[in-house]
């Protein structure tokens, strides 16, 4: 390397010599520089990010891979069932009802009380055109021991057909309401909810 430098052109040789000349530093400059470096915070975040982004290889036996995959799928299925088990949440149902006051008064829903006396029933619900005939949608409550089951349901003005479902399987009509004709499914009870202007 030095032989090659010796053989360079004079102009180039001067540049090389200048570059090799020791730089004269002010007294204490080295200490100040080191002090400034020490004061600089260590780049921990970058190191952590680099560690996380660094590619790695994992080795799993096929059986463990399959078990892991099945576990992830199971978590997804169970979560989905738990979320959708009870249909719309109480908040969602409340939101629907809360939106109703924006309707004209004649179309706004009215709270209707359904009552059935069924002392032997373990559970009673009301089904009809207002809840898609879903026996789990509108369960009735009983207070005390006289077997009186009640529930309040917001209903829009109009003609509604409904029945009570006792213990999830027996459909019965309301003894205190008019009947609709039997159309092959059995008679239903009829309820006429009048709007304020009707």
């Amino acid at each position: 390397m030095s032989d090659q430098v010796e053989s360079l052109e004079p102009d180039l040789q001067r540049i090389v010599d200048e570059a090799r000349r020791p730089v004269a530093l002010a007294a204490g400059a080295r200490e100040r520089l080191l002090e400034a470096i020490r004061a600089e915070p260590a780049p921990q975040r970058r190191a952590a990010l680099a560690w996380m982004l660094e590619p790695r290889r994992f080795a799993l036996p096929p059986l463990a891979s399959a078990a892991l995959a099945a576990g992830l799928v199971g978590i997804g299925v169970i979560s989905g069932l738990l979320i959708h088990r009870d249909g719309p949440s109480a908040e969602q149902r409340a939101a629907v009802v809360a939106g109703a006051p924006q309707l004209p008064d004649s179309l706004a829903p009215r709270a209707v009380k359904f009552v059935l006396i069924a002392p032997m029933a373990a559970r009673v619900s009301v089904v009809g055109d207002f809840n898609g005939w879903d026996a789990s949608a509108t369960p009735m409550q009983t207070l005390g021991t006289d077997g009186t089951w009640t529930v309040f349901v917001p209903l829009h003005p109009g003609l509604h057909t409904y029945q009570f479902v006792i213990d999830g399987s027996s459909f019965v009509t309301d003894p205190s309401a008019p009947l609709a004709p039997d159309d092959g499914y059995g008679s239903n009870s009829v309820l006429f909810v009048k709007g304020s202007s009707l």
Binding site: A59, L60, L81, D129, A135, G158, N188
Partner: protein
């Protein structure tokens, strides 16, 4: 070996994940789209009826409700389609009899009345004598109930029509129904119970006219 293991894992996820999401979709679809529980062919038939009703300006709720009621009561698809078709046809006839100004509740009540044997002519006559602001729904509901409980069709039809002509209010019809229902439970003949209770309803309007097609004999004897 390692690469093979990861590929196997990815393959299983690809196969199983759609199955799990499909299960969730079916659960939520049942809530948001109750008709999804119907077999596609029967569902299509019900949706055609719903579309037809919508286009004709008829209420769709009675048709959809009948389909959902059938599903809830475990009826098969064929029975559900037959029942919904009957509701649709009754609504069409009800609209023709009651006129375009009839409310959805009146059309539904009229459809029920037609299904218990009340004629279109009788319905049309009741509608033609309707005063301003008067609803036919409650009289028709009571009329259908009375026939369903065993009152002769002609007796029920003429009595309700006469009360309607006299200007009876919804509360009068409801009171009449309660009284008749109580009497029937007590063992009174349905026709007799109706005639007795009808006399108690106060007169509020003009004298009754005979509806078209009404028989000339005494209605009290028709239920014997």
């Amino acid at each position: 070996m390692k690469i093979l293991s990861w590929r196997l894992c990815a393959l299983m996820l690809a196969l199983l994940l759609p199955a799990s999401t499909r299960a969730q979709d079916e659960t939520s679809a049942r809530t948001l789209d109750p008709l999804s529980r119907l077999d596609p062919a029967y569902r299509y038939a019900v949706e055609v009826l719903l579309d037809s009703a919508r286009l004709a300006g008829l209420p769709t709720n009675p048709i959809e409700s009948k389909a959902l009621e059938g599903i809830a009561k475990n009826r098969n698809g064929r029975q559900i389609v037959i029942a919904t078709r009957d509701v649709y046809r009754s609504l069409v006839r009800s609209r023709a009899a009651l006129g375009p100004s009839a409310t959805a509740a009146e059309l539904t009540a009229g459809a029920n009345a037609l299904r218990v044997g009340i004629t279109s002519v009788e319905l049309a006559h009741m509608a033609s004598t309707r005063g301003a602001g008067k609803e036919l729904t409650m009289p028709l509901v009571v009329l259908s109930d009375l026939v369903t409980r065993g009152v002769a069709r002609d007796t029920a039809s003429q009595t309700i029509f006469q009360l309607w002509q006299k200007g009876a209010a919804d509360e009068d019809f409801l009171g009449l129904w309660r009284g008749v229902e109580r009497d029937i439970v007590s063992g009174t003949d349905p026709g007799v119970a109706l005639m007795n209770r009808a006399r108690e309803v106060p007169t509020r309007g003009p004298a009754p006219t005979t509806p078209p097609g009404a028989r000339s004999e005494n209605p009290e004897t028709q239920n014997q």
